[in-house]
Subunit: 338 residues, 2 copies
Amino acid sequence: MPAQRPIPTLQDVAARSGVSTATVSRAINFPDQVAPRTRERVKAAISELGYSPNFGARAMAARRTNTIGAIIPTMENAIFARGLQAFQDELRQHGLTMLVASTAYQPASEEEQIRSLVARGAEALLLIGYHRDPEIYRFLEAQGVPVILTWAFDAASPLASVGFDNAAAMQEMTAKVIEMGHRDLAMISANTALNDRAKARHDGVLAAMQDAGLSARDLIFIETEYGIEEGARAFEQVMAADPRPTAVLCGNDVLAVGALRRARDMGIRVPEDVSITGFDDIELAKVVYPALTTVHVPHREMGRLAAKALVNCLDTGKPMEKVRLETKSVYRGTLAPR
Amino acid sequence: MPAQRPIPTLQDVAARSGVSTATVSRAINFPDQVAPRTRERVKAAISELGYSPNFGARAMAARRTNTIGAIIPTMENAIFARGLQAFQDELRQHGLTMLVASTAYQPASEEEQIRSLVARGAEALLLIGYHRDPEIYRFLEAQGVPVILTWAFDAASPLASVGFDNAAAMQEMTAKVIEMGHRDLAMISANTALNDRAKARHDGVLAAMQDAGLSARDLIFIETEYGIEEGARAFEQVMAADPRPTAVLCGNDVLAVGALRRARDMGIRVPEDVSITGFDDIELAKVVYPALTTVHVPHREMGRLAAKALVNCLDTGKPMEKVRLETKSVYRGTLAPR
DNA sequence: GCCCCAAATGCAAGCGCTTACATTTCTTGC
DNA sequence: GCAAGAAATGTAAGCGCTTGCATTTGGGGC
């Protein structure tokens, strides 16, 4: 270790500006409770010393952190980025800071991140989806940390959420596909055991098939990891089935884009030979060619409303209301009648 | 406010398990210093109470946080995601936690985030690029927070970095484009005043032109915000120039993808009518059609090495070494001879 | 010049944890 | 069964900050 100058503290600032620590604290947090001259002296000392308040100490003394945590499955693509940005923007307007963590879609990691954020003083949490160990919800309850769930909506659950009905959205899209004459359907999905949104979307496809009198057992179904390349590989598998599907419903845009790309590589024309649909409507969906038919999700609004709900709950102590947002199928180039 | 059960503390756990707080603390942090029976009792109490250690208090008492901060310009697309993931993975192996923040490419916001992360106990910081107010570097120095700069490399700077030479990389790509017979060049760039990587890439283009005896003033140059749509609009502008460029060099893949898409909409064939190149080689580059010719950056390695450098510095107290990584032009479908 | 009130500042008690040091409780060898 | 050392546990002093309360200071009004 090199001889390290000690890190400046409130004490040091107080000493240097010739006042008590209380006054320095007030100069920082309530500037107009302090005489202008004093304030200036304190500010000068702060900048000369390169002082930075210690968050931990402050949080402990003030018993507030003004921090909200958000935990998302992945940062590797933009699915959650837009919604989170809106969430953060809204929080900032209320003087709150957002802390993000990602879990790589691993439940164990999510639990770890939840504990970590709570330990770091998160006063509330935004989580994705409903499905997790009940123990976690109990823990958060004990810690007095309200939680808002997003990217999903389940009227039956007592948990607060601002989200949308994944099953209904996917059912609508599937119904449309069937209406266009497709009978041989395939679905490429994320892991339904770990991911309740994926599960709901799968359920939606099945429901639509049943409504149309198709046998759910005829759905060619494949689960895969999250990623463009994974979607591509799954597409290849799915197209090897007999009878070959004429429409491939993808659980999200990333998988759909992978499928689309592999179709091109395999010389399969989209949408002439096969239709492909996605879910989420991320920016990517409009960039690929043909542009992707997909389910549009109001990410920004969701983020904004989730923040509002949390802020309101924190302010009033009242439980949060649940908000169900509408999705919308957007028909672009990858879906055509059979 | 509803009657709120107080949040459990170490005290509560100690009381419930009939030991002192010191023992509880040890049961948590050094389990094998505690008798197995005691340890079990403590663990039981912890889970019954839903106890979670208070990070602030712990950090203050132990004077360590095991936390590293990372501040990136944006999370909205995958440019930084991959490198950051590698950074985080490497840190975790050393028992360190990463905290991320993003700045939306705003210097003022970056400063705020730096202060926030330092306040939260970040023991070191990863930042992108060199360019920022010297005051900030002084502040970090005073706080004893080592910094590693990434996504750029400047042999002349005394600051530590693990990165690559943006100018050289872009110069190489441009030289190749010129070698293929292109004389009328355009460049679509991010803001060069705020973003030193963008500036360096612009410089690289100019250098290559000079080497080839072209007049730098003939470069059609346009700066724009970050985004696919922005790239598309810039492409439109650039193609209105007279003489019309035969190659459009984009400062990053996102802009390039926007350009590519607009070209399709405008009925301009790529690469027959115009060549387009990008920079970064994000996943997007391989998905679009034609696949993008771009500069490949070893993101994962950069993240991993940056973490190693930081860890080593924290362990030994020695200054970090600078590492220059190699980039590589990858030629895919969007570049063709004139 | 004095009194009174408001404004400005200081004092000191914690916030929840870790850890050096002191103390108690086991083991073990004889 | 006992001494001696090891293992387990307890005691208590802070870590850097905020804040209720006490004290000082500074102006007016008379």
